[in-house]
């Protein structure tokens, strides 16, 4: 199976060790949540997986082989936090998506694929010619998801994809993530600092702090019975937890 495995991965920037001996597995067809504060190394880990950050030690494998970081076929794709910076303002959204389609298909086939992908993320295929500036933040993030899927990835890494969005739009993107995971059997490493969001999309969760993973396990278990003090601290900080009067619907 095409599991994404981090084995004792270390990433260093100069003298600072951003990721310190992390081992983590994203099993095929599962969504693994990675939570932690800014500076905990979670984004660096993601960037290392797709070759945007240098790996100083350990290895990252996909289905047992090292993740290719050269060449056109990239089985690992990433969706970024800021939908306003992750799409080229000069290119239509259709062009942005088409760029990520592995080469070798005809022009017509690429066009059909772009339409299929837009449909998949619930955007009107007729809008393929639209510029990013004509789209809302949530729509842009869907385009970014479609672009990631265009590479026919085995695993998608989502790095804080909802934290730059308004709450009203966040819900739609989260629904889409769950839907894609169910329908396409997509594996995903879902990075977020929001425990409520991770709880909603991920079956497994890993808690990262200071470059290390301090706790991991099935989401329900970790959130119900956290072992590590830091996980408890994170749970206590979730807003809305203090109002016990809030009735469950």
């Amino acid at each position: 199976m095409s599991d994404l495995r981090f084995e004792d991965v270390t990433v260093e920037y100069g003298a600072t060790r951003a990721v310190d001996g992390v081992s983590l597995t994203v099993p095929a067809g599962e969504v693994v949540g990675l939570v932690g504060e800014s500076g905990s190394g979670k984004s660096t880990l993601a960037r290392a997986a797709v070759g945007l950050a240098p790996v100083a030690g350990g290895r990252i494998t996909l289905a047992g082989a090292p993740v290719p970081s050269r060449g056109r076929h990239r089985p690992l794709q990433m969706v970024f936090q800021d939908p306003y910076s992750s799409l080229d303002p000069r290119m239509s959204i259709g062009e942005s998506i088409a760029e990520a389609i592995p080469p070798g298909s005809s022009r017509a086939a690429r066009k059909a694929e772009v339409e299929r992908l837009l449909e998949l993320v619930h955007l009107d295929p007729a809008r393929a010619g639209a510029r990013p500036s004509e789209l809302s933040g949530g729509q842009r993030q869907r385009v970014a998801l479609a672009r990631a899927l265009a590479g026919r990835p085995a695993v998608v890494i989502a790095d804080e994809i909802t934290s730059a969005l308004d709450v009203s739009i966040q819900g739609a993107v989260l629904n889409l993530v769950r839907e894609l995971q169910r329908e396409l059997g997509l594996s995903m490493l879902f990075i977020s600092h929001n425990l409520a969001v991770v709880r909603y999309v991920a079956t497994h969760v890993a808690v990262m702090r200071d470059g290390r993973i301090v706790e991991e396990g099935p989401t329900a278990e970790v959130l119900a019975r956290p072992d590590h003090d830091y996980t408890r601290e994170l749970l206590a900080a979730v807003p809305g937890r203090h109002h016990e009067t809030r009735s469950p619907r």
């Binding site: 504060e37 797709v50 290119m91 990520a100 809302s136 729509q139 709450v167 909603y200 807003p239 619907r249």
Partner: protein
């Protein structure tokens, strides 16, 4: 196309129009003049050697009796050609240098960068002279010299621009998708830096023209029998006492052409720079809707005299290309002493602008209007004088989202806090600093004496935000307005900041206006929540009622859209279809109608007024409290209450 429209802005200003016309004249002359007047320029009139201006020869003649005016016109082509050739060399070499760092990867790139830095440090004219010596005296040498001398500057510019684009996520995304570096350069990087490059090319063409004239004038450029303006100037200078016009004519030509290119470049830069306004869609002028009659205003006014902030019919207007845009459209609310009021809404709902308007921070060209705008009974609508600034500085504290940009990075924290006291309260520096240390302690910063001597970058994000709050506490504020104070912070730090705000409020009876897009944060901290949509308050209710007692469909959708730790994992999250209203395109009727599951015909034509019920709760909706699918229906008694 949009870029075309931006370029058209060049012609909007008189200067731009003049520069464009002048540039066009120069270019047309360059093409036409040699065809029309070469014979006139080469004709020797031996009876009229070194003559002054006359009817036959407007600028006189040279030592062979040739007409200087025609020679100047004909020289346009060579002068412009050489200048453009040099510019092309500078741009191409500069682009190669500037993009090399991007293409070659980190290590080799560093070498290129270093060599550009060294080359830039060389004075351009020295470089040109140096090349002129190497390539020999003549037009070819001069073109290469001026071109290569301009290359490092262009390389540096390109490199800086590329570096700015390189850090964008879409470059990372393309790399993750397996797109090669060269392809990324041509598809993503160059198109996005093209505008500043084009502008600088135009300006440097003017520079090259002048440099050329200079080189030719020094005798290092064009040689006989060819002639450009610099050469004519060189020849003319020797006879300047006989015929001043022989030097003035080519001199004027150099001046005009140089000015034309430079001004054209500048106007293009200006036109592209201000284009953001020009790109806004054209909209119909909007009629202000004043729907809250006096009776309702009075009802919401909280008759009690304990009002800290009293705002009525607040409007913020900005000029737009299609008429005024009004992002805040008649907001009325009051905050009592010690009360915590939350303001929630999506981006563009006008919540931040409302806060800025209250603190008198809406700058030009924005305009703030209000029927009443009082802080502690003082009318804030009066002019922006020193007394008012002092009053605002001591009785109102603002906390912004990004604490990094709120502090001056070059000043020590203690001093920045102390400045508030020396400025507004007239304290001396020593006691102001003591107060700053005390305030840092009050916002729970450990070792405040040591911390006061540190710079902002030595503080963590959470500490900076606390220091920002501490800065607000330098006076004795009656009101703290916090605009998304925790959005940039981690959850655990967010909790600390919220706790701090709560404790300050409890200790000093300070009122708090907390602006956030996160309903859960607001619900946790505040007594009362105002929900804003499209520049208006659509609902105002006790925070405790948020989860179950909200009546406006927008409020209910906002609450349902946020997953919390109890969200049902098997059901999809509630979503709000459509997108927020653009302040420049507010529809008739209820602004939320297009996204509302309850919308009826009336909603799209008639804007609902913000109606106050007996308990002081307000809602603006024709269908307040009606049952909606997906969202919990409000309990019955609340439906009746409306």
């Amino acid at each position: 196309m949009v870029p075309m429209r931006r370029w058209m802005n060049v012609f909007r200003s008189p200067l731009g129009l003049a520069a464009t016309a002048l540039t066009a004249v120069v270019l047309v002359l360059a093409v036409v003049a040699p065809i029309l007047w070469t014979d006139d320029a080469d004709a020797t009139d031996t009876s009229n050697i070194l003559a002054g201006p006359s009817g036959d020869h407007w600028a006189g003649t040279d030592n062979l009796g040739r007409d200087i005016f025609f020679r100047t016109l004909v020289a346009t082509r060579l002068s412009v050609e050489l200048a453009l050739a040099a510019t092309v060399i500078a741009v191409v070499a500069g682009l190669l240098l500037g993009t090399a760092a991007f293409l070659l990867g980190r290590r080799l790139g560093r070498v290129v960068t270093a060599s550009i830095n060294i080359a830039v440090a060389f004075p351009g004219i020295l470089l040109a002279l140096f090349f002129a010596v190497i390539f020999g005296v003549g037009a070819t040498g001069a073109v290469l010299a001026i071109g290569l001398a301009g290359a490092p500057g262009f390389g540096r510019l390109t490199q800086t621009l590329v570096a700015g684009i390189e850090s964008r996520d879409y470059i990372a995304a393309a790399r993750v998708a397996g797109v090669g570096r060269v392809r990324i350069l041509f598809r993503h990087v160059l198109p996005n830096i093209a505008e500043p490059l084009v502008v600088n090319t135009t300006i440097s063409a003017g520079g090259a023209l002048l440099a050329f004239a200079g080189l030719s004038f020094l005798g290092l450029g064009v040689q006989q029998p060819q002639y450009d303006w610099g050469r004519l100037l060189f020849d003319g200078i020797s006879s300047i006492y006989v015929n001043p016009a022989s030097a003035l004519a080519p001199g004027t030509a150099v001046l005009l052409a140089g000015l034309a290119f430079n001004l054209f470049g500048e106007s293009v830069a200006k036109a592209l720079g201000v284009s953001v306004v020009g790109r806004l869609p054209v909209l119909p002028a909007m009629a202000a809707t004043l729907d809250e009659d006096e009776a309702q205003v009075a009802a919401t006014g909280h008759a009690a005299g304990e009002l800290v902030l009293d705002v009525r019919d607040l409007e913020v207007t900005f000029p737009g290309p299609g008429g005024p845009v009004r992002p805040v459209r008649g907001v009325t609310f009051a905050v009592r002493r010690g009360e915590a009021v939350g303001v929630v809404g999506e981006s563009g709902s006008g919540k931040s602008l409302t806060a800025l308007a209250v603190s008198r921070l809406v700058g030009d060209p924005g305009r703030v209007d209000a029927a009443r705008l009082e802080l502690l009974g003082t009318d804030l609508r009066a002019g922006d004088d020193k007394a008012q600034r002092q009053f605002l500085g001591t009785s109102l504290a603002m906390v912004f989202q990004d604490p990094m940009t709120s502090f001056n990075p070059t000043q020590r924290m203690g001093r920045q806090l102390a400045e508030v006291a020396t400025h507004h309260q007239g304290m001396d520096r020593r006691s102001a600093l003591a107060r700053a240390v005390d305030r840092l302690r009050a916002v729970r910063i450990t070792e405040p004496e040591r911390r006061a001597h540190q710079y902002p970058h030595e503080f963590s994000g959470g500490m900076r935000q606390r220091a920002m709050i501490g800065m607000g506490l330098m006076g004795s504020p009656a009101l703290i307005i916090a605009d998304e104070p925790t959005t940039a912070l981690d959850v655990t730090v967010q909790q600390q900041v919220l706790d701090l705000l709560a404790s300050i409020r409890a200790a000093d009876d300070v009122a708090l206006v907390l602006i956030s897009h996160d309903v859960t944060v607001v619900g946790e901290v505040c007594d009362r929540v105002m929900v804003m949509y499209a520049g208006r308050i659509v609902e105002d209710l006790p925070a405790a009622d948020l989860a179950t007692g909200a009546r406006h469909p927008y409020t209910r959708a906002l609450v349902a859209a946020v997953p919390d730790m109890d969200t049902d994992l098997d059901a999809p999250l509630a979503t709000i279809p459509g997108r927020p209203v653009d302040p420049s395109e507010v529809p008739a009727g209820c602004a939320y109608a297009a996204r509302c599951p309850l919308a009826s015909a009336r909603c799209t034509t008639e804007e609902p007024a913000l109606v106050t019920d007996g308990a002081g709760r307000r809602v603006a909706c024709w269908h307040a409290g009606e049952a909606i699918d997906l969202v919990v229906p409000a309990p019955r008694e609340e439906v009746e209450a409306s």
